[in-house]
Assembly symmetry: C2
Homo-oligomer: 287 residues x 2
Amino acid sequence: MAVVSLLNVPDEHPAVRDAWFVRRCTVTPASAPGPLSDLLRLLGVQPSETAGELDFLIPLWRVRSGATLLHEGAPAECVHVVRSGTFKSLKTSEDGYEQVLGFAGPGEVLGFEALCRGQQPMSAVALEDSTVYALPVRSLDGWRQGSPALDHALQFALSRQLARVGEITEMMAAVAAEVRLARFLVWLSAHMLECGQSPRRLRLRMSRRDIASLLGVAHETVSRSFGSLVEWGYLRVDNREVEILDLDGLKAFKRSTRGFADQVSRRHGAGTAASPPARHAPVGVAA
Amino acid sequence: MAVVSLLNVPDEHPAVRDAWFVRRCTVTPASAPGPLSDLLRLLGVQPSETAGELDFLIPLWRVRSGATLLHEGAPAECVHVVRSGTFKSLKTSEDGYEQVLGFAGPGEVLGFEALCRGQQPMSAVALEDSTVYALPVRSLDGWRQGSPALDHALQFALSRQLARVGEITEMMAAVAAEVRLARFLVWLSAHMLECGQSPRRLRLRMSRRDIASLLGVAHETVSRSFGSLVEWGYLRVDNREVEILDLDGLKAFKRSTRGFADQVSRRHGAGTAASPPARHAPVGVAA
DNA sequence: CGATCGTTTGACGGTGCTCAATCACCGTGG
DNA sequence: CCACGGTGATTGAGCACCGTCAAACGATCG
């Protein structure tokens, strides 16, 4: 409870127990559970692979925007698979600072980290109204034995999860703040593509502060970095709406690494219109 | 092959095919495979849990210091479990910069990230002479079905792996370089303890440059940060031998987060010789 | 014993953090 | 309807930290 009280939990604080909080920040069972086949589709399994398997129902939860699906320190009860929506994973330190560790979208697994110690090492908060499949830890082994397809899909998803955190680390490792943001945007773009969305038009579900926390910079720096990327013609930004104007250029720019930072500073010194790969004209909005 | 040629592979380059390279940088089968029970012990399974299970032999490899166990871009053939020694995981960018993503010791899984795409997303290099169990991807499903204990142990290890990368992210997210290094040392200390080693006497297997890469700072900054931690009385350092003099103080210090960076800077201003070990209040006021 | 690599220390310049003020947006309540 | 407080985003100014360049020292291995 000591740990839980640090988080944004509807406890103790009187104001949070009424009004909009109860309406908005809740985790409730969905109207109906979902079929296993839908879960498998989410995890990337082809329908042909599940031929002849039993199709049973999986508990489905509805998580409203702002609600905390997983509480840091809470016991491990369910492993979740995001069906729709977006989540952020975070750790809260004693002084209340929220360290964002990653973002999760459809098909991603949440809460698996808790199995080894029996309690959640991090929290998960919905960034928009979302739905998740809930796989009780106790049922997990049985379900996996009953459905080889589910077993494979989970292995697959965990493998992908591990590969993704490598990408997260790469983002934070970049020297310049603009490069970090560029890597983040390219990463996000790739994931929107995987989800069948447009890779150029991004609707950011997270605040600047969340992005800043993930990238390890101040949130003002994120604002300024957005400004720079816009000025250099890579983006068009309107609050949380981001349109990538030059995805290839952005991918080239994000490769700037330590030891080659001169490429970055060169951008500043030499006119912004000269050095970028292909684009001179400020296609989008002028500063 | 295009990707592989970027790495330190004993191919094409004539110099690497002879002399010390062949002797030192090799991955070879060990003299004999190891029993499954030993693998399960590594992964943290209690012997009692495996009662009545078949004990078969698992291929065991020997990896010499400096050898590359996993090549970025290579096809996924085996999942490895470190039996002894230490590895670093890294991605090599086009310009040759090595981004270290993590370190792995006994009981940790290497190469699982490759399952989802069929090829290694990162390389793994031995930092000392090491041994690893090799679980061929083709045999994996069969072995897991044949041994529920192995199945559970792998799930457990993967969960732990995911929890660990969260810790890595936390390290890189710290503001001040000294805090990052402190977090790294505390992290390392905890893992030495898990492996039955002393949590206070650390023998660093990795270079300053590797640490710097992981923490996202310049390697000179790592040197200077070591100097600061020594000056403040937390450590005693002799090259790669590190003795932690005040583990509790170091743990308190590592909690410094963004938004509370004044704690750090205050350390510099107020005489450096005055503040060190006593550690006034973790989060409270200094001076 | 010599060569190569790793580590340490110094000086300088720049980037990004901190502290602020301002503006836009939203839901609430007058 | 508009005033109001709250949150998030943007922009500016100042300064400290850290990255870069450079050189010296130390360790390791052939």
